[in-house]
Each structure stands twice: as C-alpha cells, then as structure tokens.
C-alpha cells in the first residue's frame, strides 16, 4: 500500500493559520475530494489551529521562542489523514464537554463549537499525547 506523506510547520500565529488550511486543502483536492469535503477540511484545520494558539499556547510563557504547529498529512488509497501536533500542555479536546445546540440564547457561552464542528465534519478524530506533543488526527474518506 502506497502512503504519501506531506509535512508543514507553521509558527503558532493566527495570521499563519490560513497557510495550514490551504496546505491541507491542496492535498485534499489532489486526493480527489470534492469541494464540500475540501471546505470541511479547511474549516476543521482552522478550528484546531486556532484553539491551539488561543488556548494551548496562551497558557505558558513562550517569550523566548516562537511555538510552532506541525501538520503531517498522509494520503491512503481510501482516506486522507491529517495529524496536528503542538507542544502546549497536554490537552485532549475530545474530552471536553460538547456544547448543546438546543441551549437557549442567554445560556450560550460561545465556546466549544470549533471542536464540535470538527467532529461533525470528519469521519474519525483521535487524540494522543506522545513524544511530549499533543497529536490530534483528523481522518476523512476520499469518496
């Protein structure tokens, strides 16, 4: 089985998130995904990278060095897998309580929808903490 692997490292800066989204979109298109699937991957990558920047890396002092986010994309014959790696403190976003779409307006707090959308848009989302890095893997079937 042939597996194609592509990697990208971006500085953990909001203005660089688009680069990560476009990187994955290009690979999704090359893998044969349709426009809706590419859109869903784009949104998922934006949500995850934004969470890492706003929550993960905001909790520590990285003044001496620019933290990074790595993306490893693997194209299998039937699916595309994207692993997003960061060096923030261990945090499994899949264990976070899900927001409830039926919550009344006044009780809505605004957060948590990003990972909720990711889970809806992807076929499989898995987390592991390995080699001192958070590793979240998003998988979607190609057809």
């Amino acid at each position: 089985m042939t597996i194609q692997e592509h990697r990208l490292r971006i500085p953990a800066l909001q203005e660089k998130v688009k680069e990560a989204c476009e990187f994955v979109s290009r690979l999704a298109r090359a893998a044969g995904m349709n426009d809706d699937a590419i859109h869903r991957y784009y949104l998922a990558i934006e949500e995850i990278c934004t969470n890492i920047i706003e929550h993960g890396y905001s909790q520590a002092d990285y003044a001496d060095q620019q933290p990074v986010i790595d993306l490893v994309c693997r194209q299998y014959p039937d699916r595309l897998s994207v692993t997003i790696l960061d060096d923030a403190i261990p945090f499994n976003p899949l264990e976070r309580a899900e927001p409830n779409p039926t919550t009344a307006l006044e009780e809505r707090e605004g957060g948590g929808w990003g990972i909720f959308f990711v889970k809806k848009y992807m076929d499989r989302v898995t987390y592991q903490y390995a080699e001192q890095r958070n590793q979240l893997t998003l998988e979607k079937r190609i057809r």
């Binding site: 909001q14 203005e15 998130v17 688009k18 859109h39 784009y42 949104l43 934006e46 949500e47 934004t50 927001p99 409830n100 779409p101 039926t102 919550t103 307006l105 006044e106 809505r108 605004g110 957060g111 929808w113 990003g114 909720f116 959308f117 809806k120």
Partner: protein, 111 residues
C-alpha cells in the same frame, strides 16, 4: 479582510458582509455589529450573501450581538446565508434562534 457596508433603512441597520468570516476576520464583523449597537440601534440585519465561509469565530460574534440586542428588545436578523454558512448555523442550533430570510429586503421589512 472583510468588505463591510453599513446603511440605515428607517429604524433598521443593514450590515452587508462580503468575504470569509474566520478567526482572523471575525473581529471586523463583531466591531461592525458592536458599533451599530453602541450607536443605539437594536434592529439589525446582517446580509451574508457575500459570505462563502464562516467558522465558529463568526458564530461567536453573532451570538454576542444577538444577546445584546435581544436584551434591549431588538433583534439581529440574517439575510441570504449561503448553504455552507447555513450548515454551520444548523449544526450549532442557531437556525432555530435566528430569524433567517431569503433577501435583505425581506429581512429589513420584517421589523
């Protein structure tokens, strides 16, 4: 960057947004909504016909503004969301909270 155009139509403020509402640009949308509210406008229409993409950052701005105008007995109504934006509204359950119209004219006229 978003293109945002604001116009007053009687008691209603119409905010036309074009571009991608993402984590980089959502604050622009939020500022336009807040400015309208801070100027005393509580009946607002956001025309999203030019928005092809909205992530959770955009939803946060809509929910925050909607709460503010509702508390003042006003409303924030949405016109012409694309299918992709509508899908995000539906996933978050906002399609049952927001009043959504197929044209800006209809949304403005609903107040």
């Amino acid at each position: 960057m978003l293109d945002i155009h604001v116009e007053h139509d009687g008691e209603v403020v119409l905010i036309e947004v074009s571009g991608r509402v993402d984590s980089m640009t959502a604050n622009q949308f939020g500022e336009a909504l807040n400015q309208a509210i801070d100027e005393g406008n509580i009946n607002i229409v956001a025309d999203l016909s030019g928005v092809e993409y909205m992530s959770s950052a955009g939803l946060r701005e809509i929910v925050a503004a909607l709460k503010k105008v509702k508390r003042a007995s006003g409303d924030l109504r949405i016109a012409q969301p694309s299918n992709r934006v509508m899908e995000v509204f539906e996933m978050a359950g906002l399609d049952t909270i927001l009043q959504i119209f197929s044209s800006a004219q209809e949304a403005v006229g609903s107040f």
